[in-house]
Symmetry: C2
Subunit: 416 residues, 2 copies
């Protein structure tokens, strides 16, 4: 039998999970509703997807999603694994998405269907762009090793002029951050044209580097048309910048692939819009599966939300996502998970315990800007929180002789 790769789904169905899985395999490969002349046994053998495994889980008495038989006695949940012939698509990230995550979401008889994981074929690892910098390449550019990369986001999200942005960046680089990013809501609006913003911001960052030797990474949001993204990438690179950011769901796989093939810089992947694909637990994608597509396309940094975040995602999901981002797949040694949303030193211990390493970006907005002693205190407090976590010392104990951390706990301690 020709080479196959598998995708794993969690489904719910009024029929037997085995029958439903066979329907999925048929729909996403060689079957049709009617017999057609070319549909031979030989073609089915070569190109038919197969059911590799079915593991039944619990049952429910109501269908979770509409559109299936609503009068069944019960709906069985199951984990099913489908094996796809690699030859059906060859190497193509967009076609991989269509094959494992196309019409399957609308299929009868599924009252639940979520893509949990993709076992990426080795051929993709060698033929796809994959991350150009990843964890170690990003660390080298910032020259931060053996601790998380500490960063922040320019706020307000929209409305600051290039000069106002640069002025905030000056405060932030002086405070000691390693990394700063544009908000996803700003790309090239009339009030802050991309080139002007890059010029204003990089002038601050370059001057800071020449004074201190520290090169802060700024992720400029290049999101746009392909030609725009490539041109903006060049503007960033030529100004001495070291990172470009892109809104993955707004640009799409082909756009990110085009940027990656052109890029000399790490690609910071923002996942805004991800909630639409993930918030219904019985539909869409698990991030474990989804983030693999973007890594094949060449994204270096991937947002994962944060422990005790201000959005709706559970800590369990955040941790599973971050672990998945760090885990190597064919073609890379892992990508860099980016923690953000409501982060301060208070989540350092739990984050460290969940991952067992410090290969991550740790972004704080209020945790830095809202520190009682100002941004420098905020950055110090974050670093001290992580020192405590890595040393296995409690936050409270470490705070006794670390003033910034202590002040931070007084300000944000309720969030812990």
């Amino acid at each position: 039998m020709a080479e196959r790769f598998t995708a794993t789904y969690r489904i719910e169905t009024p029929e037997s999970p085995q029958a439903a899985a066979e329907a999925m395999a048929g729909e996403q490969s060689a079957s049709t509703f009617v017999d057609v002349p070319g549909q031979t046994d030989d073609l089915q053998r070569r190109h038919g997807a197969t059911v590799v495994d079915v593991t039944e889980l619990e049952t429910t008495t109501e269908p979770t999603l509409p559109g299936v038989d609503a009068d069944a006695d019960e709906y069985t949940r199951a984990t099913v694994q489908i094996g796809y012939p690699l030859d059906n698509l060859g190497v193509s990230v967009p076609q991989l998405r269509t094959t494992v995550a196309g019409n399957v979401f609308e299929m009868q008889p599924l009252s639940g269907v979520r893509l949990m994981d993709i076992d990426v074929p080795a051929a993709y690892g060698s033929a796809c762009p994959t991350p150009q910098f990843g964890i170690s390449g990003t660390r080298d550019l910032i020259d931060v090793h053996d601790r998380p990369i500490v960063g922040t986001i320019v706020k307000p999200s929209v409305g600051l002029s290039p000069g106002e942005t640069a002025s905030l960046v000056e405060t932030l680089v002086e405070a000691g951050v390693d990394f700063i990013k544009d908000d996803e809501l700003i790309a090239d609006p009339p009030y802050s044209r991309f080139e002007e913003r890059v010029e204003a911001v990089m002038s601050v960052i370059n001057e800071h580097e020449s004074e201190t030797g520290k090169r802060v990474m700024y992720a400029f949001n290049v999101t746009g048309d392909v030609d725009e993204m490539r041109r903006r990438h060049d503007v960033v690179r030529d100004a001495g910048g070291s990172c470009v950011m892109v809104s993955l769901n707004s640009v799409g796989l082909a756009g990110v692939l085009a940027l990656r093939r052109h890029s000399d810089l790490p690609i910071h992947g923002h996942r805004n819009g991800w909630g639409a694909l993930s918030r219904c637990p019985s539909l869409g994608f698990e991030y474990t599966a989804y983030q693999k597509l973007w890594r094949l396309a060449g994204v270096d940094h991937l947002h994962v939300n944060g422990i005790r975040n201000k959005f709706t995602e559970s800590d369990e999901s955040v941790v599973a996502s971050a672990r998945a981002v760090q885990r190597p797949i064919p073609g890379d040694d892992g990508a860099l998970p980016v923690f953000s949303s409501g982060q301060w030193a208070g989540q350092a211990h739990d984050t460290y315990e969940a991952l067992g390493n410090v290969d991550l970006m740790y972004l704080a907005g209020g945790g830095i800007m809202g520190h009682p002693d100002g941004p420098a205190g905020g950055v110090d407090a974050l670093k001290q929180g992580w020192e405590a976590a890595m040393a296995g010392v409690s936050l409270a104990e470490y705070a006794t002789d670390h003033a910034a951390l202590r002040r931070s706990m007084e300000a944000f301690g309720d969030d812990e």
Copy 2:
């Protein structure tokens, strides 16, 4: 106040819908969790999104989506309209998506959030590519007017060699179809390289044209990297082909924009993966909103499923989608809705009644290939079904002196 455009959402929340809507407006524009130096009243006035309307709907006692306060007494559903300053983003289709459909899906305090519609700003109509052919341009290329464009999909979806595909295409063009498309599962796999398939298929189509004068439109699936899509487009055009197909969700907005800017041919938009964004009624997108993004990017034909389809979508939703695709937005006169899945003459009356016009593609697989008299009988039956619908004559009455339709009803009548 500067120019604004609105987006409409259906939400569910344990808080007051007004408060939830204000949180949405803040998150998607100028607000942050903490006060920062640049956040002035003036900035808020210029760049803050505003709540334009809140209409309360029913309440429920359980939250539909997880991640919000689960112990509230009730969760109120509402339709809310948010006004965004156009200046926040300028003209950019990817940034439009991030602005109206980004982090909002993961927001506290929303236990339901679905983007229902976007009031596209006029500036987008003049600056975005928009469809190059649309309804009338597509009709001109096929030379079919005053009735639906009747077509089919090559099946089996995967596994046919270029020669086998061409041989099936020969059968289909002789049967009288106007339009044929690749399945979304085939693009450029090792067993049917794109260029070879185009050469084999276009040789049949060109020969058919030179014999009969009829130029059948074939939508070749160019889905892939940007450079691949552009190159494949050229291969199709140079071989005399008249359409390219792309899997929208697998390629993304930037990829489709890049193809559109290069293209001399209509773009046939396949929406596989759409179910992940739409099947949970309290999450994701209504197609009315979603399809506008793709039309701004330049897609001419948009799949809408079909009445009494074999997937999970309701007829009500199919009809709403098709009407939305036909309705003009800034920059176009409407796009062409593509009906498919379990279609035969039996749905012609209901489809015609729902739309009030015949500006659509009507694709049938089994309805053509499975006709008792063969594909020619299938195509004749489809056309006769639509003649009956347009004449206001019942299918049964029209079938009395139209044999192909009669035989079709005998074969598929149970589906009606």
